[in-house]
């Protein structure tokens, strides 16, 4: 049974997967503008992906099949996440099969496989990156979960579509619990996507890198998939943030074609705004020392828990 809404949802998911590198290109372009450079254009990530896909993969002698399977698993998990998160319309493909907790689980799948692959070759940097990635993950995952909990308590549901629809219908006001959760979420987003101040996506300074250290051994199509996964992760997180904190304007299944069109335009504008904001944050802040990263993330976790407690105490 393929109804109109599930067709829309399928198209949405494919569109998100295809357009993910565009957001990354946009953030990089904004950064370039802010830093008085002309930049490579928003299509640069696609050129990189094309180049990488055409190259021969170089794999270390002692790589196991886990190493070669891992990029596909990471990409698959992130692509599946794109079918859970409402980006353009509020009814994504797997709306009722997986809720926010399963979404967090899906992110964990990608992270664990990335870390395991990082340890597989047995190089100094690979295991260092894996350890640091898991360090970031074990603090940001519960923080993300707590953010979802706050939204779930407000909407009495853990399903993202329901959350979005309930939150979008409330009158425009600042909810203290959501304010705490929002700050925590931005911190989690920065950490999970390996952005400044936790990690620098464009660094190759060996001792400070986290995510890049873990994927050092990858090349060609494997690396392309990993880069694409990173782009997809950024778009997924941005979409989650928009769905939770600025849910207005998402098309509902009953809205028809014009509603969908308006929703799409609004979503694209919001995403562009998020990308520019990210570029501002990255340009104006410095990278933290790795030892400070746990403090940053613990702050995010505490803020998220505080949001939850504020909701329990004030009921809003």
């Amino acid at each position: 049974m393929i109804s109109g809404s599930s067709l829309v949802a399928l198209v949405q998911a494919l569109l998100v997967i295809a357009a993910a590198p565009l957001l990354l290109g946009w953030v990089d372009q904004c950064r370039a503008w802010l830093q008085n450079r002309s930049g490579a254009g928003v299509l640069q990530p696609y050129r990189t992906l094309r180049k990488l896909l055409h190259k021969d993969a170089v794999v270390a002698h002692n790589a196991s099949s886990l190493f070669r399977a891992s990029p596909y698993v990471q990409f698959g998990a992130m692509a599946l996440a794109a079918t859970i998160i409402p980006v353009l319309s509020s009814r994504p493909l797997l709306a009722t099969s997986a809720d926010t907790i399963a979404l967090v689980g899906l992110f964990a799948v990608a992270r664990v496989f990335a870390a395991l692959a990082g340890m597989d070759i047995g190089t100094a940097f690979g295991s260092l990156g894996a350890r640091r990635e898991m360090l970031v993950g074990f603090l940001s995952e519960p923080a993300l979960l707590m953010v979802f909990f706050t939204a779930s308590l407000l909407s009495q549901s853990t399903l993202l579509p329901t959350i979005v629809e309930v939150l979008a219908q409330r009158e425009l006001a600042i909810y203290p619990s959501l304010a705490f959760a929002g700050v925590a979420f931005v911190m989690v987003l920065l950490a999970e996507n390996a952005r400044i101040p936790i990690d620098n996506p464009s660094t190759h300074l060996e001792l400070t890198m986290i995510h890049e250290a873990m994927v050092l051994e990858y090349s060609a199509r494997h690396l392309a998939l990993i880069e694409w996964t990173a782009a997809l992760r950024l778009l997924n997180y941005a979409a989650i943030g928009l769905a939770l904190f600025v849910p207005f304007g998402l098309a509902k299944p009953t809205d028809g074609f014009t509603g969908l069109l308006v929703g799409t335009v609004l979503s694209v504008l919001k995403l562009a705004f998020v990308g520019a904001g990210l570029a501002v944050i990255e340009t104006t802040s410095a990278k933290l020392r790795i030892f400070r990263a746990p403090e940053f993330l613990a702050t995010a976790f505490l803020l998220a828990v505080l949001g939850l407690l504020v909701h329990q105490l004030l009921g809003s």
């Binding site: 698959g76 047995g122 100094a124």
Partner: protein, 665 residues
Amino acid sequence: MTVSGIEGILALVLAWLLIGMSGLAAPRALAWVGRTLFPLGAIVGVALACLAISALFASPETRVLPLGLPDLPMHVRLDALSAFFLALIGLAAAGVSIFAAGYFRAGAGTAPGLLCLQYHVFLASMAMVVLADDAFAFMVAWETMALSSYFLVTTQHRVPEIQSAGFLYILLAHVGAIGLLLCFGVLQGGSWQFTFDAMRNAHLSPGWATLAFALALFGFGAKAGLVPVHVWLPEAHPAAPSPVSALMSGVMLKTAVYGFIRVTFDLMPQTQWGWGAAVLVVGGVTGLFGAIFAAVQTDMKRLLAYSSIENIGIIFSGLGLALLYRGMGMGTLSALALAAALYHCINHAQFKSLLFLATGSVLHATGQRNLGKLGGLIHRMPWVAWLALAGTLAMAGLPPLNGFVSEWLLLQSYLFTPTLPHSLANLLVPLGAAVFALTFALAAYVLVKFYGVIFLGRAREESLSKAHDAGWLERAGLAWLAALCVALGLFPVLVLRALDGVNQQLLGATLGDRATSWWSVVPFTAERASYSPLVFGAGIALSVSLSYLLVRRLYHGRVRRSVPWDCGFPDQTPRMQDTAEGFGQPIRHIFGPFFHIQRTVPTPFDSAPRYALHLADRWWGWLYAPIAKAVDTGARWVSFLQQGRISLYLTYSFGTLLILLAFVL
């Protein structure tokens, strides 16, 4: 042939005992014990699980056994709760027994035949603990379980560390058992009837009930490994041979959970919500403590033992939540929390057994338990490595495997609290959720360390190149448990339906929406939350294989092999990989106050520089050292009674006699 549930199960327990006895017929005949008796034990395990699963849907049955003291016969009862735990024992024991068939070799320590006896007595006593329907039978089975497992722990009884681990185990087992004896003493409520039926009907005042609850928490907590009575667990579980560690961690800890549920949910009809809050706090602390300590371990079996403490903490926090909701009269929520805790019990039984068995295979192949001397075994032992990966991912709580299902259920039960009628509980539940989320995320960290250091990377020792994969019996045992991990992850609705009987029996309430499909878990209503592991798993499989096929079809699959890149550093040695200490270092750094750290750092002038780090549990200093000191001081105080002269002892006896006579007359 129709066998009524309870007779069939008793016959199977007897069969386990007989198999054990047959081991004595030829104690040194490895082929007889390994190739015949242990596989038979596994078949009995499967049969037990099948009978127990059918009994889950039947009405309770009771029997009086012609055993025990003349006017104190043993009562047994098979109801939904005991059937669930019997199924758990049977399923896990089947996998462990098959593995054990290939595992035990001739060598130092206990003879195989004797080991077979101890092993099967252990299994049978666990089944009897779950079946017992009076305090007498329960305590007999409980003590048999403790003793048989003590002998199994001390299989290598010539090693001093194992001797002391065994002593610590038996000591705390008995301290816990005293708590249980007292608990049953309070529960009979003046009727002097020790059957569980009498206890259900005894009316206790709130004060006495709280005392009984506290004693139960202490007694069962000592067996389950709750903080602060957990210290025996990381000593005893690694000391035992791996199949025994698997049984102890995977199954024996669950009998303590069973006992706690039996006493607090079944035998005490009235619950106060404060008990639930206490259990929630203890469980949360235990879970976090276990996860943090597991992250810094360097011995693979100790790491798993601490991770068992963590999982027990998770189970108990679920039970605490269930008690709390029950005390506030919220049936459905309580049922959800209890179902989540029970689900985690059966999940933990499978994946922890699987991982302990995998460490056993690694130990056999390499002779190493130290994580710092392993590495790269995925190339040498692919079967063990890939099957252990299933357990690793399941325990890390990744969907669509089984660990995620219980995590999901438990989070749901934390989440859908309407405003609770007490402000303290209102704060406690979200905080509990936060601690639980942190614990689960830490578990993923621990498991990446466990798996990555043992199986991935490069071999840290030359000798590892001679490691060999496990034999086919061992593989079969591992595969059985891995398959259960997958099945329990993909078909949670069937398990939850089976758990309805338990919920109905203990709480009189079941999970919400009954009209749900068989593939989607819906604890309340479809708008609130739902999770379909089958769709989810199919989605992951589809998107992974699609991306693989598309990349291959649209581009190419050419691969060139080369030396590792590693930013261009030449001359890499395996020692440049992260060690187990290194992988745990961030956790040690963040949670520093949890550990008692002793560090010796070399000075620049040392001719032979040496760095040593010793991490210890602070509870030793906080709790156990003062108790030991108090016992010592007390012993010195009363030692003046012991003068070594017979005339003085006769005077003591005379004095005692006089005092007793004064009482009698």
